[in-house]
Point group: C2
Chain length 410, copies 2
């Protein structure tokens, strides 16, 4: 018998009407003879409402109490969905993270799952019940309610799917899948039918935020397929799955971009061991995220280092770096917060040669200057002036044969 | 060291301002060196809001899911109060019924407490923490959330006080105590300083609804004093306590009344064994509550039975009784839904003689006809025409020396 975990986000349970529409989806699954478990987020807006109440009392409320507070959001939506399904004649019950045995560590507001003791749910699902798990939350070893951090419901769903040995974890959302690139920039972007976990992680880290990365990493570790699909249309979405199970493979799978970038360059810093940690240590201590780093030898005895940070961290990072470089007698520090990243992603590039040179020549053909380059096994990222992002994405999408016109005409 | 459990109802946590005012009360207690644990209800209106959501989906929602749903109300108010107390520098944490070890049976929406395993709370309170328990809820042996029924937070508070071996259970409410009678009828009614559990139960069952009866019964069984007091004024309220600890005792403690009464009389029903159960069996089966019952022999071989029911049950009870009496060939059935009960209550009447005759002569002196009389150890109840209620209450309050003028003038 097929078994599936279906996850619904806040908009899918955001009103009584949406809860009924969500129940329609669950009902269809059960009617098809599929053993179905459900994971829900809080009704949209509810988590923020609760946080607002707490912040009105205290600027920095205690983590344990915040988790006790906000976890009620999913408890409400899960119970309401159970009530709706019961009114349709289905055996359905809601379970909190604690009741479902979703055990976490003790890190309030960003807990990590340490195990799922889902004996009770497993028993109920085999008896024909539809268990409905509150997403986003678990229970610590001390019996305290913990939450997994924003978007944690995706991770709850994948963890439950693994524990229940489900065939697939369906994640319903307001988009109908992952696209080859942002359709707002490239109208001919097409939906990707199958994407590997690694590619999905790279797409997400490049701004295609449809799935929380933790959930993809977890799914990858346990080889749990994720079906990312629309809660508004009953059409196939994108399967996120093991690379080896994807038969045909183009050189690249998608083009991603991120405008939220700023660049800092240190010129003529004395080149000796430990220089990188001297620069990046204090930045990390300040809690700032460094993304792309490029280091080049320039003149003899000195080197140039360039790196990017999220634009919101730019001013603070620049200030820190200026302080460091004064101490270290670097020649100059320059900043530019009008840059962006463009990446091509695909496991296929491992077996297709010439992908990098094709990318560079495509951008050159459009007169777009590449400021930085960084590569991984399945991704090539360039940093360009922000104003060139749209043109770069369009050109690369076409050059790598991702435009859907041909497909649509076929 | 003195230890107290403080219970706050929905209006005391009904807004952020009220939560802060409640925190003031808790803070005062802690500052006085008292080990303090707190029990809270849901923010006023919240439980009804959640029930409304469920009823919009389903006319008769499942009990387990309803308890999962509505129990979130107290979880929110408890966490918010904990956050407010923390912001003032106190160690305070909220605990759900499950976390606090408040174990119940499996009767959703009207669960009974089977035990409180409060080891964790006991440890925390001795370490100086202020534990805040979600009222109204517990956990079943299966790990399901249960609720104790409306007003169950009073019972939670008393149960916690017993388990923590507190010196007293403070119940904060919007009245400042129990009065000798309803001050709306008798402006000179005075606050009762000390009242026995038995008297409190009788007062409550006669319409003085300030404490849930279950909480009083529980307190009586374990001899836990309840201090019923105002959350708006820091003045002593009414102590509900063991009769033996109340030193001076008047003949009666209070005068109670209930307008919500209707009377049904069966005349000339054949007088043979089993007649009462033949009449009252079907009424009980219909779920109707019979209160006062009086039976008199009338003519030879027949008897008259009169009883009262809540006014809302009158029509249905009358219909049932008419059916029975037709079968049993009773002479007549009469109904009157314009009657009311007036009671005098006091453990002192056991040792004071002439209390009953004083009551009857007082009413006779006002020309008030007594339709029915029923007595218990500590209560005498009469049924009178509804229009005479105010006058009867006033006359009895004066006759038994309860008017406060003398006290106020002293």
């Amino acid at each position: 018998m097929k078994r599936v975990v279906q996850k619904f986000g806040g908009t899918s349970v955001g009103s009584l009407e949406r809860i009924q529409a969500t129940a329609d989806i669950v009902e269809r699954s059960v009617q098809e003879g599929i053993e179905t478990a459900v994971v829900v987020s809080a009704m949209s807006g509810e988590t923020n409402r609760l946080i607002g109440l707490a912040n009105a009392l205290c600027d920095d409320p205690n983590g344990r109490e915040m988790d006790q507070l906000v976890s009620t959001g999913e408890q409400v939506s899960a119970a309401l969905l159970a009530i709706e399904l019961q009114s349709r004649g289905f055996a359905a019950h809601s379970y909190t993270g604690a009741q479902a045995g979703l055990r976490t560590d003790n890190s309030f507001s960003r807990a990590r799952i340490v195990g799922v003791e889902c004996g009770r749910l497993l028993e109920r699902i085999t008896l024909g019940e539809v268990p409905i798990l509150t997403g986003f939350q678990g229970v610590s070893g001390q019996g305290d309610v913990t939450t997994l951090g924003r978007g944690g419901s995706d991770t709850s769903a994948v963890a439950l799917a693994i524990a229940l040995k489900a065939d697939v974890c369906d994640i319903f959302t307001d988009v109908d899948g992952v696209y080859t690139t942002d359709p707002r920039i490239v109208p001919s972007a097409s939906k990707i039918k199958r994407i590997s976990y690694e590619e999905m992680l790279e797409m997400a880290s490049q701004g295609a935020k449809v799935l929380q990365n933790r959930s993809v990493e977890l799914a990858m570790r346990y080889q749990m397929p994720i079906h990312l699909r629309s809660s508004f249309m009953d059409v196939p979405g994108t399967m996120v799955m093991n690379e080896d199970d994807i038969m045909e493979r183009a050189a690249i799978t998608g083009v991603a971009y991120n405008r939220d970038e700023a660049k800092i360059t240190i010129k003529g810093i004395p080149d000796h061991p430990g220089i990188a940690s001297a620069v990046f240590g204090p930045i990390a201590e300040a809690g700032l995220n460094v993304d792309v780093i490029v280091q080049n030898v320039s003149e003899v005895g000195t080197t140039d280092i360039t790196f990017t940070v999220p634009r919101s961290d730019f001013r603070q990072a620049l200030k820190i770096v200026r302080g460091i470089c004064k101490d270290m007698q670097a020649r100059d520090v320059m900043g530019d917060d009008h840059v962006a990243k463009v990446s091509i992603i695909g496991v296929g590039m491992r077996s297709h040669s010439g992908v990098a040179s094709k990318m560079f020549s495509t951008l050159a053909g459009k007169g777009i200057n590449i400021q930085m380059i960084t590569t991984s096994e399945i991704k090539i990222t360039v940093v360009v002036e922000e104003q060139h992002v749209d043109e770069a994405v369009r050109a690369l999408h076409t050059a790598f044969g991702l435009d859907a016109e041909g497909v649509a005409a076929a």
